[in-house]
Amino acid sequence: MSDLALTRRAAKVADEAPLAKAAAIAAALAFLSLFFLAPLAVVIAQASAKGFSAYWQALAEPDARAAIALTLTIAAVVVPLNAGFGLAAAWAIAKFQFAGKNLAVTLIDLPFSVSPVVSGLVFVLLFGAQGWFGGFLAAHHVKIIFAVPGIALATLFVTFPFVARELIALMQQQGTAEEEAALTLGAGGLKTFLSVTLPNAKWALLTGVLLCNARAMGEFGAVSVVSGHIRGATNTIPLQVEILYNEYSIAAAFALASLLALLALVTLVVKLAVEARAAR
């Protein structure tokens, strides 16, 4: 009886008037083009406004090359670390019971709920010249703020949730039965993790790493606070784009920005491919 009612209601939703369906799809597409495709087109148009050689020159310029190199370095440091931390955190949270678990889940989301500028300021307050550890660091000639380590730390903090969140959702849904089966079959803890837990989570891990990488390369706010904007030394791609834009070097700014746009496109395509593969 209730089954029948359910079927009927489901049928009703699916049988929405064709006109309404078309209107909904058109609205969604219009929104997507206006807010996602149009900016992409603008970036490409502006970057190539002065021709290909100008585009290439803008990218080959020493400060731009330094910014690209720094961005790649930061990503190369941050992404593996956060993949490791995220995996460890997700494993602990999804597969074990412990006191303070809800607090841990909330803390993992903290970087998403705090403004990146605040995240950057925290590191200035800790490691800056006037910060808690400022005196100690100065005495030992260690530079963190306005230097590469500070940028890495700020990026590490801001991008921490990506891998952990992807994995926690999946691992919780998968439960612990397969791990328990492995244990009863004689596998040790590490063997179980490597042969059961990790392979089951590999696609989610890859998705998390992709998103983490995209954000690590694109992060502006937190990095802006700790970087010091030293040209050719502590400017990442997003910071360099801002400087060029403020100097009215519009074409150069967009040339550099097109790299980030390209990164976003590649990330999305690979993510789609990964998800299609994982769904099989």
């Binding site: 039965a177 397969e178 492995a182 244990l183 009863t184 079959l185 042969s195 089951n200």
Partner: protein, 246 residues
């Protein structure tokens, strides 16, 4: 398939209690399981039967009391060392592995010294596939199998390690009624062929009464009655048992 399993083991549960958070799940359980016996733990959901099974496997530790295998305190052995064949309610097959790799898992994870050769493992898996009527399925993945086939892979995987006892949690729980009936006889048959001491959990009294040598009926973490199916049916010990069997 004869041999390999050794002499069947006796399991004894002595005054075992277990609680999670607020309530007691198992309350001073005493249970003697004979070597080679097929015992059913029967009870409504929440009666503690699955927890008792997991305690035998070493997947849970008792708050009080002792579990013994052949008179030896099981607490000194980890879940890996206990060598129990455990069949999980939803089978818990390794979803990213083929049927072959699932069944071979318990052999391939052994330390190098104790690990059988590749050929021996392949022979063993082939033997189990034949026993489970799963020939030709070794390259399939779990999601490509029917419920009944998954169930048989899970059992083959558990038997591959030459377990000392066989424990099954709601072995037919996820199957439709027709398949359940067919598989009953088949479980009894596997038990008779391996001679293993076998304990299975069920909430279905027909299933328990049909194939078990003895039935233990649980309610609220206590064993209400234990005995041969015909005896329990003829003389229910408590009002709960009488009502549950109706």
């Amino acid at each position: 398939m004869s041999g390999g399993f050794g002499l069947p083991r006796a399991i004894s549960v002595d005054n075992v209690s277990k609680g999670f958070g607020d309530g007691a799940v198992l309350d001073r359980i005493d249970l003697e399981i004979e070597p080679g016996e097929l015992l059913a733990l029967l009870g409504p959901s929440g009666s503690g039967k699955t927890t008792l099974l997991r305690l035998l496997a070493g997947l849970e530790t008792p708050d009080a009391g002792v579990v013994r295998f052949d008179g030896e305190d099981a607490a000194q052995y980890t879940v890996q060392q206990r060598r129990v064949g455990f069949v999980f309610q939803s089978y818990a097959l390794f979803r990213h592995m083929s049927v072959f790799d699932n069944i071979a898992y318990g052999l391939t994870v052994r330390p190098r010294r104790e690990r059988p050769s590749r050929e021996l493992i392949a022979d063993r898996v082939a033997e189990l596939l034949a026993m489970m009527q799963l020939g030709g399925f070794e390259r399939r993945h779990p999601h490509e199998l029917s419920g009944g086939q998954r169930q048989r892979v899970a059992l083959a995987r558990a038997l591959a390690i030459e377990p000392r006892v066989l424990l099954l949690d709601e072995p037919f729980g996820a199957l439709d009624a027709k398949v359940r009936k067919d598989l009953r006889k088949w479980l009894r048959d596997i038990h008779d062929r391996t001679g293993l001491t076998t304990v299975f959990v069920t909430h279905d009294q027909d299933e328990a009464m049909d194939i078990a040598d003895r039935v233990a009926i649980l309610n609220h973490g206590r064993i209400e009655q234990i005995g041969r199916p015909e005896d329990v049916r003829a003389a229910p010990a408590t009002a709960f048992v009488r009502e549950f069997l109706e």
